[in-house]
């Protein structure tokens, strides 16, 4: 694509910001680099305003949860319409209390995307004008896209868990047969064998139960 390559953009960032910009990951699949969270807004302002970079489109803002590394990585995709180049950056946050600066003052597109990350991952964006849940109901408890999220099992007292319908039918069928057997089994045990053949003729609605 016309415009700078990942390596060239990364080079420019390293020249300007030094340590705050991590190494470029290996270029197989999509290369990305990790920014230091405290200097995120500074670096992003440079990405947006520098004439040779001019990333005017915040293409995507999302997060991935890594409980094994105890991190939540917020992923940013930047694109420039002027130069037609793309850049991917990540910020690594502590899973216990993930907080990072909001990019809303720079790109208004970040407004809703950061709200979604707040809603589904629990990341707080400092300086966001309106940080509240967007996809889940306002009184939802929990951050659903985290790996250790346990489903609530219901909302406002209405359960969303039920038994497997096949199990329900099997149980119902067993119960009906047991009742029929109890009703037709005579109190005197001497005549039991002759009448025991009757219950099998009951019309069971669920044929699968017989398999």
């Amino acid at each position: 694509m016309p415009g700078l390559t990942f390596e060239q953009i990364h080079q420019k960032l390293v020249e300007k910001f030094g340590d705050a910009v991590g190494l470029l990951s290996p270029p197989k699949k999509d290369p990305f680099c990790v920014f230091a969270a405290p200097r995120l807004r500074e670096i992003c302002r440079f990405l947006k305003d520098a004439p040779e970079l001019y990333f005017d489109f915040l293409e995507d803002l999302t997060a991935t949860d890594h409980p094994k590394d105890n991190l939540i990585r917020v992923v940013y995709h930047f694109y420039s319409y002027r130069h037609r180049h793309l850049f991917i950056a990540k910020v690594e946050l502590d899973r216990k209390d993930p907080q990072v600066d909001s990019l809303e003052p720079l790109w208004k597109a970040a407004n809703w995307m950061e709200r979604e990350v707040f809603d589904l991952f629990g990341v707080t964006f400092k300086g966001h004008p309106d940080l509240r849940r967007i996809l889940m109901p306002d009184d939802w408890v929990g951050t659903p896209l985290r790996k250790d999220y346990v489903e609530a099992g219901g909302y406002l007292g209405i359960s969303n868990v039920r038994d497997n319908p096949l199990d329900l039918y099997l149980n119902m069928d067993r119960q009906v047969r047991a009742e029929k057997a109890a009703a037709e089994a005579p109190p005197a045990p001497s005549t039991a064998p002759a009448l025991a053949a009757a219950p099998t003729a009951s019309p069971a609605p669920e044929h699968k139960a017989e398999s």
Binding site: E59, V75, K108
Partner: protein, 387 residues
């Protein structure tokens, strides 16, 4: 936060003296289940705050539970009006992770099915836009044409709405033998219909007056708020992923990219980036899609329709992003793999989600009826917003 707190935060502490209306989530003109909390001074709104999430089905979470090929039907439901694009985006992302090359016939089939789906989606958008403004007649005209597309795509892949046609590595079925002449016949027919559409509604005086100069979004604002697709092009930004970051078979096709030019005319107050521009860009895009399908049918290559894909799809550790020009704008898929059979994270960033973010800003000072026109012109659909 509760609705009272929302009202105080968004509209000011003494806002409860003003009229606060609730538009939606059940509403025929909100293009799905979307709620708008509107502070209105009579007919004129101060602000419309959208509340979304009524159609949230946790598709991204499901992406972590099902296998890579098993996720394909779920992508249909991300935007059921333009499902082929969602399929293709996901397939492209996973193919990038696997490093697969797709055979040319499969790429052409993808392009043909996607462009037909684009026309179908635009027909719904244009028809519902006219209906929301009050012109009820064009809606069945648009849907009548869409029925033919549904029949064509049903012959191709078996479904009319949620196609599940693209696969990781190609497409599911080959083109039937008698499909091409049927498609060509329909393309010729539809070209005449587009002329009829223009005479019916596009150049109708009342329609243009309603939309001209309405909710103008200048180019920098559109880029900053992240508008994509026809919304962005109507604001004057000349960018189309099919031409500028091409993927699949699109480098082989010649087509124009319509951008906003104040089609309503300056004598009616038309401006670049108003509602009428967004409407008319979609009409012009339908015409270009027909061109693309014709060129694809003329040069349709022989060969396989599916690449050699391993039995169990287990990409290496890594991540990939794919961007496609869907009917509602650029859809970007971001798939993270940890080496297993199931994805670690699937993310679908859709055009409608970003378009909703601009409504609060642009709706200030509009009338409630104009809010309907604004939502329709942005072509938002609830499943894309909520996923």
């Amino acid at each position: 936060m509760s609705l009272d707190q929302l009202i105080i935060t968004k509209f000011g502490a003494d806002a409860d003296h003003e009229m606060i209306l609730n538009m939606g989530p059940q509403h025929p003109s909100t293009h799905g289940v979307i709620n708008f909390v509107v502070q209105a001074d009579g007919e004129v709104m101060r602000k419309a705050v959208p509340q979304v999430g009524y159609l949230h089905r946790a598709i991204e979470k499901i992406g972590e539970i099902v296998t890579y090929p098993g996720f394909m039907p779920y992508t249909d439901r991300i935007d059921y009006l333009a499902a082929m694009f969602a399929n293709e985006g996901y397939a492209l992302a996973v193919e990038k992770l696997l490093g697969l090359q797709i055979p040319p016939r499969a790429q052409y089939l993808r392009a043909i099915s996607c462009e037909l789906n684009r026309v179908a989606s635009h027909l719904v958008s244009l028809g519902t836009m006219a209906m929301d403004i009050g012109a009820v007649t064009p809606f069945p005209y648009a849907l009548r044409e869409r029925e033919s597309i549904n029949d064509l795509l049903e012959a191709l892949c078996g479904a009319r709405l949620t196609y599940n046609y693209h696969r990781i590595g190609g497409v599911a079925f080959d083109m039937p033998d008698d499909w091409m002449p049927l498609c060509r016949k329909w393309l010729d027919h539809f070209e005449k219909i587009l002329g009829e559409w223009d005479r019916l509604i596009s150049f109708s005086e009342i329609f243009v007056e309603r939309l001209a100069g309405m909710a103008t979004i200048p180019a920098e604002m559109a880029i900053n708020y992240g508008l994509v697709g026809p919304n962005l092009r109507a604001s004057g930004v000349d960018f189309d992923l099919r031409r500028d970051e091409p993927y699949g078979a699109y480098p082989d096709f010649k087509f124009e990219v319509p951008i906003g030019k104040a089609y309503a005319g300056s004598h009616r107050g038309g401006q670049i980036g108003d509602c009428y521009d967004r409407f008319y860009c979609r009409v012009l895009e339908c015409r270009q899609s027909i061109e693309i399908v014709r060129q694809a049918l003329d040069r349709f290559p022989p060969g396989e329709f599916m690449a050699k894909v391993p039995r169990k799809i287990k990409p290496e550790v890594g991540e990939a992003q794919s961007r496609i020009e869907a009917a509602r704008g650029e859809m970007a898929y971001y798939v993270v793999s940890d080496g297993g059979e199931r994805a670690y994270r699937v993310r679908a960033r859709t055009g409608s989600f970003l378009a909703m973010g601009i409504i609060e800003e642009v709706s200030q000072g509009l009338m409630i009826a104009d809010l309907v026109a604004l939502i329709a012109s942005l072509d938002v659909v609830a499943p894309e917003i909520d996923r």
